[in-house]
């Protein structure tokens, strides 16, 4: 489903050059739940961002569903993200000016879809994360765990085939972290959604199908 071939990412500023990713080769199958671990600064987020078409590699190939992504223009990438990808971030990234339901609707706004259809899909997504009673709240009225569950609802509302989660439990205590993890596992088994998750938690990584370790931009396992 996702193939990375000889992928490199180098950040260049006028004074220094940082190699964030060094010759990554990785193949992720459909329905797989993969976790990425490694020390801080080793390039985990960079890798995830490249897989999510949020960032471009310096060299190498990214192929998703047989399509070479470097052929895409920015509009096509936006469309691809909209229809096939869902993101979950460590710091939730909910839009504070939008209510919970409007936050969840966000990906659907960029599809041609009627308001009522958007609403009903968003409600279903919120139900599946157990938050149907918080529809009209605003993000600042929610706990961290609730925020992350809203973020998950937003990531799954468009039924993407791939979910990319960057330390989704990093800002949560263990109870809430486990709740989030359960939702992701359920999503993976029930809907065969491919999930790539960055984590610092060995236990959580062990619950996934496969673990990839990075060290200093290189794949070590």
């Amino acid at each position: 489903m996702i193939q990375l071939q000889n992928l490199n990412k180098v950040y260049r500023t006028s004074t220094i050059e940082t190699t964030a990713l060094n010759d990554i080769n990785l193949s992720i199958d459909k329905g797989e739940f993969l976790s990425i671990m490694g020390p801080s600064g080793c390039g985990k987020s960079t890798l995830l961002n490249i897989m999510g078409l949020l960032d471009e590699p310096s060299s190498g190939k990214l192929v998703i569903n047989g399509q070479q992504i470097s052929d895409y223009n920015s509009k096509a990438m936006a469309k691809y993200r909209n229809q096939h990808l869902g993101f979950i971030f460590q710091s939730f990234h909910l839009i504070p000016d939008l209510s919970v339901i409007d936050n969840v609707e966000l990906p659907l706004i960029y599809r041609k879809m009627s308001a009522s259809q958007r609403k009903s899909l968003a409600k279903t997504a919120l139900e599946s994360v157990g938050l149907s009673n918080r529809v009209d709240h605003y993000p600042n009225q929610l706990s961290g765990g609730q925020k992350q569950r809203v973020a998950i609802a937003r990531a799954i509302v468009g039924e993407p085939s791939i979910i990319l989660a960057d330390e989704p439990t990093g800002n949560l205590d263990s109870v809430m972290g486990n709740e989030v993890m359960e939702i992701l596992l359920r999503l993976n088994t029930e809907k065969q959604t491919t999930i790539v998750m960055v984590t610092h938690d060995e236990n959580m990584a062990n619950m996934t199908h496969r673990l990839v370790r990075l060290y200093d931009g290189s794949q070590v396992q």
Binding site: N49, N82, F92
Partner: protein, 438 residues
Amino acid sequence: MILNYFKLALRVMLRRKFFTFISLFGISFTLMVLMLIVSYLNSQFAATQPLSNVKELVIVPNIKLRKEYFDSIPKYDTTIVNGLTKIDTTYDVKSAGQSNSISDLSRRVIEDYLFKLSSTKLVSFASRGNNFDLYRNNQKVSISVSYIGPNYFDILDYKILEGRLLDENDNKQSKHNIVITSKLAIKLFGKTENVVGQSIDFDNQDFKIVGVVETPKPKNRLFNQNVFASESLYEEGADNFYFGNCILIAKGPVDLIKKDVLFAATKIPFQDPEKYNELIVNPMTYKEMFASDFDFSEDPTKAYNILKYILIGILAFFILLPLLNLVNLNVSRIMDRSSEIGVRKAFGATDNHILYQYIFENVIQTLLGGAIGLIMALMAIYYINTSGLLNEMELSVSPTFFFYSLLATLFFGLLSGVMPAYIISKSHIVTSLKSKQL
């Protein structure tokens, strides 16, 4: 989608109250001033009664006599001719000064030399208002009486509130009939109805009011009277051939009329070449007449252009400063929301989605500022009109006024919103996401 953007725009404004207050204050104040300017220009130049024919109107307000004195200045040059020094004398002719006299035209010059214009549809003249004081209920009322030629009311189509305008009969039979303006009617009688039939005395004669017309909004030398009487009652001092008290007005294709007038003026004889050697008659449009009051140039077309550029310059400057300020505010406000932009893009927004969203938000905000500005402008106009603050000038509010106010508002909204929205729409997703945590 529009509804979502609209809800979001309101929410954003409510959440950042201080910022919203600052920007709305700037927007509404700027737009209020713009609206007042629009209203002023509208009241001065709109093609409404009595200026429905303004596009076909040519005015000759005065005649200028000029004498230019010349001095010959000898210049000595030494040259060497055949080995001998020779002094060469040349003369430079330089203007040493000029004397000008300028005044309204005499009726004789108008009637004898400037009335036969082949291109005009209608031509007439009016004397500058003659001032008299009336006493009414122990109160002094100043009137300004203008004697008007035939066709005057066909060129300037005053709006009749009561009675009728002066006609051929009034003129031929030298009837002591007058038409007065609504403002004078109110000053004299406290009302504009049932004024026809009343008489007033001035110049030791009795005049009967036959009509009341609406007081024109513009204030300039075309509209400096509040009483109209027939020209057959007008006696002009015969002492000066050129100078009198009249202005010529003509209706027709303006460029042709101007040429005609200039040509006709060449036929005006020089009465006393000792005293002057140049005679200048300047036909001008209504706008040019307005501009020529500012003395930028002797040529009314030039004067109008200079005035236009000065006004545009002032306006541009006046718009530019608050606009730059607003752009600055908008940029910082949008930067504040850059992680929102990152999130939107991550979930499928294209650059254009982001661009339109922020322009839309800005237009909504500007429209709100425009509405507040409109209310303030209407209040200011009401105050100016009722207080007689600006020399009895009246500002007008018309559909044109609303149209241009809306245009100014939208223009302002787009201009102040496009640049910040464009910058932000091009920002890199990862950088946006990292910037400030939501």
